[in-house]
Amino acid sequence: MPEMNAAIRNFLLPEINRNFLIRVALVAVLAYIFFKYLLIPFRVSGYSMAPTYNNGDVNFCWTLRFMFSPPERFDAVTVRYAGTRVMLLKRVIAIEGETLEFRKGRLFINGKEVEEPHIKGQYNWELPPRTVKPHHVYVAGDNRHVPMETHDFGQTDLNRVIGAPVW
């Protein structure tokens, strides 16, 4: 029992010696690298991806998600601006070479209607056909109830796709 108490005390209040400081520094450096480059924490701001992701939600961007395979249709992705401090959270609706269009709020890929399981309710977007350029993906938010003109969507270079939300 006294050994256990000593072990607990040592765990909670360790002796501050050289080894302890090295361990703390190592943990701090590894945590910085991990959360800066691999698992980037972010907070959702806005309603562009509602109801899947709501304003104020906290999540993490896993940057290795598309390391070995490019994003596929309906993958949620984070798209960077100049860096990763501010990113867009969107859903891939078409991949390179595909032609997409919206007719009365319905998504058509290469002329065929595609069901979007993550979209709730009806909306009225109209978008003439356009083809996704090579090495690009076409992204849009899940919230299509906002006017098309005020919604950020479109094709973006795959280099801008940083990763995917963890949940």
């Binding site: 798209v79 100049a82 501010v86 479109g154």
Partner: protein
């Protein structure tokens, strides 16, 4: 023992000098980042801002710009060159449409393609309230060119980058 003590003191003094040098020395990158801080500060608007304060801020923004200032925002079909003397009035008119403005810059990366020229890529975020009460939030990737004129880095051009192409 004395030698060790002296070595320790000298080392500490050297270390302090190195820290002080980096602390006090302002590199071109620091100066440019400071310019963006100034731009954000002068563009920001509080709800109770007085007219005189607005005029002073507009003048300060124009002083951050070079003699000619090119603005390009392809997504808004804006491509226009402003002369320094006109900027103040334009800024004053633009800011008057809003009752409150908040500006932030993120992820600033600076490149020096040649002496006295800096190309800066960054993310700019503007949150504002129109005088009608409507809220506006715009985020853009920006490419800016600054020119060093008489030791001052001044804005010569700003371009909005289309991250999503509809």
């Amino acid at each position: 023992m004395v030698n060790q003590k002296n070595i320790l003191i000298v080392s500490l003094i050297c270390f302090a000098c190195v820290i002080a040098f980096f602390w006090l020395h302002e590199s071109d990158e620091d100066k440019i980042k400071k310019r963006f801080d100034e731009l954000a500060e002068e563009t920001a608007k509080a709800t109770d801002e007085k007219e005189l304060a607005a005029v002073i801020k507009a003048k300060k923004i124009s002083e951050l710009c070079a003699d000619s200032f090119q603005v390009d925002f392809p997504s808004y079909s804006i491509s226009r060159k402003f002369m320094r003397n006109d900027i103040s009035a334009q800024i004053l008119a633009a800011r008057a449409r809003y009752s409150a403005i908040s500006v932030n810059f993120y992820d600033i990366s600076i490149d020096f393609p040649e002496e006295g020229i800096a190309d800066v890529t960054l993310t700019g975020s503007v949150e504002a309230a129109l005088t009608s009460g409507e809220s506006v939030r715009e985020i853009h990737e920006l490419r800016c060119r600054l020119e060093k004129i008489e030791k001052d880095w001044l804005f010569a051009a700003i371009e909005g980058v289309d991250v999503l192409d509809k």
